[in-house]
Amino acid sequence: MTTDSTPPAGVLRPHAEQQYADELARLAEHDDRPRPPGWRLSPWAVTTYLMGGELPDGSRISPKYIGPRRLMEVAVATLATDRALLLLGVPGTAKTWVSEHLAAAVSGDSTLLVQGTAGTTEEAVRYGWNYARLLAEGPSEKALVESPLMKAMRTGAVARIEELTRMPGDVQDTLITILSEKTLPVPELGVEVQARKGFTVIATANDRDRGVNELSSALRRRFNTVVLPLPATAEEEVDIVARRVEQIGRALELPDAPAGLDEIRRVVTVFRELRAGLTDDGRTKLKSPSGTLSTAEAISVITNGLALAAHFGDGVLRAADVAGGIVGAVVQDPVSDRVAWQEYLETVVRERPGWQDFYRACREVS
């Protein structure tokens, strides 16, 4: 199991439990509330870890999720009742992010992960075989290759399933027994793995993908559902973007370029307006492009702009640095989205006071 130790040097993206090992340790130190069996922290401390807060010794816990506290409380309470948790939301609403941090805080391990794709097989969910060994020694526990889920059951940890709805329906349904009986039989060996206390599953699924492989109602019933919303206000979204951009910049060791809050606000405004199909002042209707224009994309546009500014520009994030990224994010469909974008540029951006540089930069790259 991955522990709280520091990640090997040069790792591109440390796991949550590695990156925030310090915070987790301090929380555990001050946590005197009852912990559910198998949990590293009490539910209260898990919520604090996610939402941020201050500890009695004055040290700060940084917020991981910016949004309604009640959603995180529902999520944590769900896990505490050993129910499975289904995080729903449109792309870019921090579903994966929340699931990783929940797993890290609850069981100190966010790596027990099954990625759902159209090609995910039952072996990935249950167990597979090391065929060389199987042939050489016959069926034995040594020849068994356990899935992350099986490992989580054995160790009483949180397993994560990403993009649950992309899995084929029959593979999804193998989860039903695991979630209701909390056991995984291995008929070949005549044994079974019974889940230890602390085992549960966090799955994420995409609202827009619902049609792909709709969950059977039997499976759906075993999940408590939390719908993660898009950020409620522009300020909240700016806050999220600024925070993440800073973290990513640090991780990528980008040269120190101050991410101008103004530029971030501008990108967030563009994304929000196009997403809603309405300008912020509520007076102009807009065409909505086909892309999701999520917060996550805004973050990547800004990060990309920062890299441009640091390496090729004068070190300050300017309109020209984000323009290319924005156009790329907005114009997904070369015909209809381009029309929407051009209309937006000419009717809204052009008129807006103080946006002239941005307008010119976008005109250049569009």
Binding site: V74, A77, T78, A80, R83, F223, V226, V227
Partner: protein, 823 residues
């Protein structure tokens, strides 16, 4: 707040002022001058708090008082017995109103209406106190400032800045023991958070809560059994009031001075009522009032000072009664509302003794199942577990509405918002409508309506319900009449719907019915008009007719009278209509009024309404129109002609609908006169063309081709000719398809136009022909092409039938029609 047992403390209302009460010695005291025997307990409650209600009930059962005083209008003392009647089902409200004022007919009374409500739900502590007292057979008295003073204060000359009796007071949002005055002024609390404005907010913040409601819920409302919370509440309030009193005067800032004075008066009156109860010899007296008032009641204030406070208050005549109330009204924050966010939840908390969470979620599952949403018992089990885990996570003693709603959303509704809203509407607010017993004092109009409701099997309900009435059935017809009459009285219990997707037959009506508590006020006011719904509506209609300013108002009133079958009001309305028609110089008004009346006449026939008087008016109106029209059409410009054209068409259509030969003949004679005018007096080309066409269709003209030739001949200005053509051809070009002579005339006229004149009339022609259907235009075009060929029309072709081949089809057709096929 650690609950502590009640402690006795020596104090008496009549006693001389002494040092301020020590905090904590609240809630109970002895009256020494009654031989140390008289005991007073003051229960500070939150209005409409289920926990308070339970605690009050328990405390009363333990204390066994000889008299119970309740915060409320003393005028209701005589009505309180009704609360024990099995027919009395909360939510109900005490209604105070100023009787005997005759409202004016035009609805202006709404602005000066004076009424106030004191709502009670099953879970209201006051209601529980009343029920306890009635069951135990001890007298109940209301001790708040009389409604006579409260209503009088809403006179315009009263303190303008005063937020009125609806003003904020403790406990904060559950502010409803106060009469919710009709005038919403003062409902919006100023943003500043003073102790006085939000005393519980202060306490909640001290306890580390950000939401006062939730704090109060946790410490009081969600308590199960246990020691009485009242001493602790009294202690806390005393502390708060002491703090507030210590503040410099100006820091009372956010509250207007009138409100503080009002509070002083109310508390003085409460003390006075308490003194009287003690004087009357009751030795154990319980007082149930808003928590904020507890310290004031326990304070030792000389009787003389209270008398001084209460001297010379303005007064008005007030009548009181019970009226049914709804949970929706309790939830509203404005107007008559009480600002209880979740009456349905509170009701549930109060009535379900054990396992409130489990019962609530089971009920929610049933509501969802009724809507065909699949929710299993397993869902409910998991929802209960989630709610409890959330409560534990948030450190609450018991899952509250927030936790339960989260559980409903995450488990029962699987993250879907829509069903959550359904639960919110059906359960959290809940559309419960109370009822009052038969013998409740009512104005005769209310009684009559009740009788009608029973007769017509229309039950008032707080949820909106659709009714489809078939006017051919006697019951449905009577229902329709009742609803129309109520609408005339301003009681919009039923709102007519546009029939959707169904045939527009005149014998169908769709209504949406929803009873709102304020209708009782409207009814009481309308009581001035009469004692029955029928009589009152007729009287109101008569009064409205006398005040109507325009002919259009009168015609619509006449229509409404017919719908409501108000035969007795109709003569008055008709007389007013006839009078108004006689003096109205503008024939256009008369013409505009006619179609509605004719419609009403025909519609009345369908409904079996006697329409005699209406007939007389229509007769008179037709004559007036025919007389007034010729002078009115002289010298009209283009726009005015176009407008007149619309009126003429409408009247013409109405007369066709009416089907009265005399009127039609008179109308056509009038038109004929107009058409024959010549020279300077000739009517506008548009009108003349149209009139010619109307007369042609009616078969009254045999020289139409000549007339057209004249109209489009060289001597006539091209624009007038074009207007004539437009008028003549408006409303369908089939005429041209079938009449070669006219077509040839038109064709010749257009072909002969000089170039510049052609350009001038082209837009008019385009407008005329553009209005035709494409098929008509094509047919006309084909006719024009054949005109040049000068060949005889192809009518002969039609005779070219092969009888042998048609025989089989003809025989089948005949058989279908039921005729014997020729052999």
């Amino acid at each position: 707040m650690s609950p502590s047992p009640p402690r006795p403390a020596g104090a008496v209302p009549d006693a001389a002022p002494a040092a301020p009460h020590a905090a904590g010695q609240a809630a109970r005291r002895r009256a020494p001058d009654r031989g140390e025997r008289a005991q007073v307990e003051v229960y500070g409650i939150r209005h409409h708090g289920p926990g308070s209600a339970r605690a009050v009930r328990r405390a009363l059962e333990e204390f066994k008082p000889e008299a119970v005083l309740i915060e409320g209008p003393p005028e209701a003392d005589d009505l309180v017995d009704l609360a024990a009647d099995p027919g009395m089902v909360p939510p109900v409200a005490l209604l105070a109103y100023s009787p005997g004022r005759t409202p004016s007919a035009d609805g202006a009374e709404a602005t000066e209406r004076r009424a106030a409500f004191w709502p009670f739900a099953e879970f209201s502590p006051e209601w529980q106190a009343i029920r306890y007292a009635l069951e135990a057979g001890v007298p109940v008295r209301f001790c708040d400032l009389p409604a006579a003073h409260q209503l009088a204060r809403q006179e315009p000359d009263a303190d303008a800045g005063d937020p009125g009796p609806a003003g904020p007071e403790a406990p904060p949002s559950a502010e409803d023991g106060r009469p919710a005055a009709e005038t919403p002024e003062g409902r919006d609390e100023p943003p500043e958070q003073d102790i006085r404005l939000d005393p519980l907010g202060w306490l909640a913040r001290a306890a580390g809560y950000d939401d006062a409601e939730r704090w109060w819920d946790d410490v009081v409302e969600h308590r199960g059994d246990g020691p009485s919370p009242f001493p602790a509440i009294a202690e806390a309030m005393t502390e708060l009031r002491a703090r507030l009193a210590a503040l410099p005067e100006r820091e009372h800032g956010p509250l207007p001075p009138g409100c503080l004075r009002r509070e002083e008066q109310r508390e003085a009156y409460m003390r006075r009522t308490l003194r009287r109860a003690l004087k009357d010899g009751y030795e154990r007296v319980a007082v149930v009032c808003g928590a904020w008032h507890v310290p004031a009641l326990l304070e030792k204030v000389p009787a003389a000072r209270d008398e001084r406070t209460l001297r010379g208050l303005p007064k008005t005549k007030v009548a009181m009664t019970w009226v049914p109330w709804t949970h929706g009204r309790l939830a509203d924050r404005s107007g008559y509302g009480a600002g209880v966010r979740s009456p349905g939840w509170y009701h549930h908390l109060f009535t379900s003794g054990d396992r409130p969470i489990e019962r609530w979620l089971t009920e929610a599952a049933r509501v969802l199942r009724e809507e065909d949403l699949h929710v299993s018992s397993a869902h409910v089990i998991e929802a209960v577990r989630l709610a409890e885990a959330l409560a534990a996570l948030r450190g609450r003693p018991l899952a509250g509405l927030d936790e339960v709603t989260e559980a409903v959303r995450a488990v029962l509704c699987e993250g879907n918002e829509l069903p959550v809203e359904l639960i919110q509407r059906r359960m959290v607010v809940g559309e419960r409508l109370g009822s009052v017993p038969e013998r409740t004092p009512m104005v005769p109009l209310q009684r009559d309506l009740q009788a009608e409701q029973r007769r017509l099997r229309l039950k008032p309900s707080a949820l909106d319900k659709e009714y489809d009435l078939d006017l051919r059935k006697a019951l449905d017809l009577d229902r329709s009449r009742l609803l129309h009459r109520l609408r005339l009285l301003g009681v919009d219990w039923g709102v007519p719907q546009e029939a959707q997707g169904r045939s527009k037959g005149t014998f169908r009506e769709s209504w949406t019915l929803m009873w709102r508590p304020e209708f009782d006020v409207e009814l009481i006011e309308a009581g001035a008009w009469g004692t029955t719904v029928h009589g009152a509506a007729a009287a109101r209609a008569t009064a409205m007719a006398a005040q109507a300013a325009t002919l259009a108002e009168l015609t619509s009133l006449a229509e409404r009278c017919l719908l409501a079958d108000l035969g007795d009001a109709l003569p008055a309305v008709m007389r007013a209509l006839a009078d108004r028609a006689a003096v109205d110089a503008d024939v256009a008004h008369l013409m505009a009024a006619l179609p509605a009346l004719v419609r009403a006449l025909r519609y009345g026939d369908v409904r079996g309404t006697p329409t005699g008087p209406l007939r007389t008016v229509v007769d008179g109106l037709v004559v007036r129109v025919c007389v007034g029209l010729p002078p009115a059409v002289t010298g009209l410009d283009d726009d005015a002609s176009r407008e007149m054209l619309g009126h003429i068409d409408a009247v013409h259509g109405a007369l066709s609908l009416l089907g009265d030969d005399d009127h039609t003949a008179r109308w056509l004679r009038t038109l004929r006169v107009l058409v024959d005018r010549d020279g300077d007096r000739a009517v506008h080309g548009l009108l003349e063309g149209r009139l010619t066409r109307l007369l042609l269709d009616a078969g009254r003209l045999d020289d139409v081709p000549d007339r057209m030739a004249r109209a489009v001949s060289v001597g006539v200005a091209p624009d007038r000719a074009a207007a004539w053509v437009e008028g003549f051809l408006s409303g369908g070009g089939l005429l041209l398809v079938h009449d070669d002579d006219l077509l040839r005339l038109l064709d010749g006229w257009i072909a002969g136009l000089p170039a510049d004149a052609f350009t001038a009339v082209l837009p008019l022609l385009r407008r005329t022909f553009g209005g035709y259907a494409a098929a008509e235009r094509r047919a006309i075009g084909e006719r024009v092409r054949r005109l040049d060929a000068a060949g005889p029309p192809a009518a002969a072709r039609d005779d070219d039938i092969d009888a042998g081949r048609a025989a089989a089809a003809a025989a089948t057709a005949l058989r279908i029609l039921g005729w014997e096929a020729p052999a």
